[in-house]
Symmetry: C2
DNA sequence: GTGAAAGCGCTAACAG
DNA sequence: CTGTTAGCGCTTTCAC
């Protein structure tokens, strides 16, 4: 990794002071808007700044102030719309507070995530916002514990002493099952693409306890776990729908799973919600615009961003105390037109 | 914007040197792997580093070396899957070259984009990768020209002296029209969500010239421009399909437009490709997994990232010369099962 | 091969 | 109110 050729030195505060005919200290004072500056001095310095197009050197400021005004953000993958939206919402708030965001995709690679956390540390991030994929990896956990930077963890239940915002997947899923059960459904299938991480596991758990709460027996063959995150659900759902005892309702988890599921239903000649009900876990754009609109369980990402950034900001300000704080975000069920009474004839 | 409380000073190279019992200069030498270090010294320093958990202070390095090893990335919105994928691909390459990415969403707000470019400058980005929304705004153009940082512009034709990678939207669209014309289609509709930016405009242009090239008359009422980026295409397409002279083929531009279009076709009781053909401009995941799979015009984002990062890296290395370089990326047509011969009976 | 010292650009404490 | 100065942590001459 060869060092790039050094850039030419650009205009410094020294140049500004010189042109303005004042001392370096005075220039600094007007730049930082501290008191005790005469109007005349201020005027001269401001003109010099404008004339030179001066911009403070951030590296020097960071070195001096021990603060980079930047937040490190480690997500498993921005390509996942959920994380993209989350990033955007977080950026919005932190930007308003004067921070820029360093973004890195962890890609569920423990080693990579550790490396990224290390650079965050070495680069003196003022704070860190993370949702690592390797949620159980002891080395990743250690890396987080040793960060020594205000940290908030999003949607991961990790054993570190960090603030975190957790989603209440279990109650959310129970709500979904209750809704379906209320419509008379007794055979409800769950289609998931993977089960590696906490959110998935907890949702499956909620699906089970939802059945229990409703006094429903759960046929385990109705929980369809696709082998990989990317594995197409189409075939699996299609097969499911051919069964004599096919489910009367489908719960699809994840954007791709949902679109495959919708396809499979369509190809089977079934109509939503008359022949079959469906609810989506996660609320991609097309769920709302689908015909008919698909009922979804969603988490309000704006709320997550609000809580997450507030947690981080307050801790950075040193207002937080020693103990880690945990806040919970509720999944809300958005009822649309994709659920109807269970078909008796099945 | 109150300054955050200063962090405690952490372990510095000075501490390392002290513990190792060597001079600060020697410590630096082993850290930077320069020659002229005795094995004994190296050993001692390395032990001290390990014992202390030393990490170089990035701000100090940046200040000294005039290089931040950071790339500023300004996109209109990561929430757009295309940009998300692009970012991921770019990150991959630049990370391999030892850079981290600062990401900011411009949100098509000229003022905001200018501000972001300014911070990129002030923060001493080694390079900058941008796809601003405000492609015609003179102030944004000026901001880019005055950046004074190696810059590459992605998919925007801006009048600045920057390297850029351009997508050949026009030939791509002509290819699509040719394909459809070859199947006997003479009434082809184009559904677009907005036309604010260059890619959109150029695609419409390509659509027109494609017709010309095929000797086809173009009915302007078949170009459906939705008012806003988010405006649902469902109604528009549905209406279109009720017309007596309805099109025999639909070209849908953008992820949301495509899914609305598919919905509308489905709701009208039409079958793809028998009753109507459709091609997608842009290739979202669900296009390939749809039943039937939708033929798409796509641009290879990996290639874009490869070219873009290569352009940037070479310029940062100072290998690039004065002139701006432009490289073109071809749109490729992915033929799947959504296009068939035109229905005669319409 | 190693140590001492200068200086990157900036802020803040201090003296006037 | 203003100027001078130390020093943030690091790399890199320059002597030895």
């Amino acid at each position: 990794m060869p060092r790039p050729p050094q850039k030419p030195r650009s205009v410094s505060i020294r140049d500004v002071a010189e042109l303005a005919g004042v001392s370096l200290g005075s220039a600094s004072r007007v730049i930082n808007k501290v008191a005790n500056v005469s109007a005349a001095t201020r005027e001269k310095v401001e003109q010099a700044i404008a004339a030179l197009g001066y911009r403070p050197n951030h590296a020097a400021q960071s070195l001096r102030l021990r603060s980079t005004r930047t937040i490190g953000c480690l997500l498993s993958d921005v390509t996942n719309p959920l994380y993209a939206k989350l990033f955007r919402a977080l950026e919005e708030r932190l930007r308003a507070a004067g921070y820029m965001m360093l973004l890195a995709n962890g890609l569920n690679l423990a080693e990579r995530e550790i490396d990224i956390l290390g650079t965050f540390k070495s680069r003196g991030m003022d704070g860190v916002l993370i949702a690592p994929g390797s949620e159980r990896d002891p080395q990743v956990l250690a890396a987080i514990r040793e960060l020594g930077i205000p940290t908030v963890i999003l949607d991961r239940d990790m054993d570190t002493r960090s603030d975190c915002v957790l989603f209440d997947h279990v109650p959310g899923m129970k709500r979904v099952v209750a809704h379906l059960a209320g419509l008379g459904h007794r055979r409800i299938a769950l289609i998931v693409s993977q089960s590696a991480n906490r959110p998935m596991r907890r949702r499956i758990e909620g699906f089970r306890s939802g059945h229990k709460a409703q006094g429903l027996a759960l046929d385990d063959t109705l929980i369809v776990q696709l082998p990989h995150a990317m594995s197409p659900a189409y075939e699996a759902v299609h097969t499911l729908l051919q069964r004599a005892d096919r489910p009367t309702a489908l719960v699809a988890m994840g954007t791709n799973v949902l679109s495959d599921t919708l396809n499979a239903i369509n190809a089977s000649g079934l109509r939503i919600p008359h022949d079959i009900s469906v609810v989506s876990i996660g609320d991609p754009d097309f769920a709302a615009s689908h015909v008919p609109p698909i009922s979804s369980l969603r988490v309000d990402l704006d709320q997550v961003a609000e809580l997450g950034s507030e947690l981080l900001l307050s801790r950075m300000r040193g207002e937080a105390g020693d103990a880690a704080r945990t806040v919970h975000v509720t999944n809300t069920f958005v009822e649309r037109a994709s659920c109807g009474p269970a078909l008796r004839s099945v």
